[in-house]
Symmetry: C2
Subunit: 363 residues, 2 copies
């Protein structure tokens, strides 16, 4: 528990879960451990490598558990996260991000010297920067081409552009072409990959590693015949999104936020002690900010920074002031990112306090 | 810079602002200092006490500057914030929150022993808890009644309910009735206060302290004749909301986030290295997630966790990959809450690195 302030420790001096001060983010360890196993077994059964995305938890201890359960390595989204995870003994890190600029390239070189790194690029600018840095350091970095399957974020737009960038990588000193990466996996994925393979065949450039991802459709990973590895973040925690997407059942959701009802200003309205600085303002679901387990008919309709605004009018009973409620957030990733620590509980007892060590490392 | 990790320090080893790694949150110190002075002078001129809300910055050094400039004390929203600020030498702290539960009341007692605390209540449950804790500790706590002027968050609904709760406070051992508190100030504020005063007049209970707040209408504070103190958070930083509300001009915005364009997947689209974990998903403005100063016609239309999605189609020129852009976020409070440190710059040079010491202290 080194590194926790006295305020944070005040959360954990009581061993019973129901004495934790609120708002508190808890992880139900029995279910969390079942979640760790379930996706690993599924991917193993289909010969797909599991490369979990640590953006969900940002906790080195959990990353190590994922590796112990059979993950080939992890996925990070920022250099700072990769540095924390390398410090924690993770030896295979995929950073599917365009790394640009002298300082970031120097940090990537330092990481590549100590762990097996791989990255993505979607432009010649990124490839030239990576190549110059790695060549200068006498290293060789596995570089994948990111392609866009419809998310309209990063990624080359056509198989021809992907093939052109793959050729550039293959011929760039300090780099070797690793394959292709996309998010999310959908009906466009296999045709795109096959088209790139065909375009690169005459060049003798193999397209080996195909990295797909997305928790919403994780149980469909095997339907994408070209995928060789899968990146899911949320499978260990779960949230209202994974529930609505039928990716996880209600029983499988292991990550919850306990709040206290601090005000009942009207007969229908209740105010929780967690708002947008607890639940984030993630807008992925339009019908409320979370599911309140004790009052499933309640509508968590609004938030200010430190207050949650709930309409209990549809509920047969209403909560008392001071009552605790358990919330499944819409999206667990930005929520765990707002907490300094996550409390692991088993049989209503606190068993673990994990510091969210890689949170806030935005560069 | 104690407490900063090596990753965080990598941000500041370059003295020039334009060498800071992105995404980075900067505070332009010349303007920040002018903002500190401007609201203080305005409130002084109208005989209204300035009690800034530290939720915006969560930085003890800035709280101390606000006191040095004439603030009577500060406002915190959580006990954890108040504890950090008390540790930093702030001696007058208002916590306008219903404090409930044994552990939180014990922490409030500990705070009340060392600094001048005041709190709010909007229910008899809260008042009974405060009274029992303070009486047991031999303390007397100034307690205000929160009333609802239309924000529909916490707060009693009618002047009669406010008067009843004020009487309960006045007669509760360990407490004394301080006055009334609301957010935001609007046309309902004065009539509500005057009605409560009239109701309490026969009881001989004075309604002295009237605490109003809200940055959007801070320059109208003096129009509310009953207000004796004002709580603003954002006046020191500014954001796209304060700009749109005409509470601050573009030149007065001191808080900005510098990002790098990491991808240009199409002719129109540009991707920044900051997404919802940098800018939050604050939905207070519907037309985009921030104003890009170098490309004011650009539309910051989407975000994933670590990528910002920008449409540059309306811009006369488009950015290159690797180019840096300066973003004024929609709402500065949840943004500064996502960073571990804020970088103070003057004349393009780094002058300060302030740790956001009270962030993540949700209880």
């Amino acid at each position: 528990m080194a590194g926790l302030s006295s305020y944070q420790l005040s959360n954990v001096k009581y061993a019973m879960k129901n004495l934790l001060e609120t708002p508190v983010a808890i992880l139900e360890l029995d279910q969390f451990e079942r979640n760790l196993v379930k996706l690993q077994r599924y991917l193993d059964a289909h010969g797909i490598a599991n490369r979990p995305h640590i953006k969900t938890h940002k906790i080195p201890e959990i990353a190590r558990m994922q590796i112990e359960h059979g993950a080939v390595g992890i996925t990070c989204q920022k250099l700072g996260e990769a540095e924390v995870m390398a410090d924690a003994g993770i030896t295979d890190i995929f950073l599917p991000y365009n790394i640009l600029g002298e300082q970031k390239l120097a940090r990537l070189v330092a990481l590549t010297k100590r762990v097996k790194m791989s990255v993505t690029a979607d432009s010649a600018v990124t490839v030239h920067g990576l190549s110059a840095a790695m060549q200068h350091a006498g290293l060789e970095l596995e570089t994948l081409v990111e392609f866009d399957t419809g998310a309209q974020r990063c990624g080359v737009q056509t198989p021809a552009a992907a093939a052109e960038l793959a050729r550039l990588i293959a011929h760039s000193p300090g780099l070797h072409f690793g394959g292709l990466m996309t998010f999310p996996c959908n009906a466009n994925t296999d045709p795109f990959v096959l088209a790139v393979r065909e375009l690169l065949h005459p060049d003798g450039i193999a397209v080996q590693r195909i990295s797909g991802g997305g928790t919403a459709r994780m149980w469909h990973a095997h339907e994408h015949k070209t995928i060789t590895e899968y990146r899911s973040g949320m499978y260990i925690y779960g949230d209202r999104n994974t529930l609505i997407n039928n990716a996880m059942s209600l029983d499988e959701i292991a990550f919850k936020v306990i709040c206290t009802v601090v005000s009942r200003p009207t007969a229908d309205r209740g105010i929780l002690d967690g708002g947008s600085k607890t639940f984030s303002s993630d807008a992925s679901l339009k019908d409320g900010h979370g599911l309140i387990l004790e009052y499933p008919e309640a509508r968590f309709y609004g938030m200010s920074e430190e207050h949650g605004h709930v309409d209990f009018s549809a509920c047969p009973a209403r909560p008392q002031i001071g009552e605790r409620v358990t919330v499944i957030p819409n999206h667990c990733c930005p929520v765990s990112n707002l907490f300094n620590e996550i409390i692991g509980v088993r049989s209503e007892q606190v068993e673990q306090v994990w510091r969210v060590a890689a949170r806030g490392l935005l560069t």
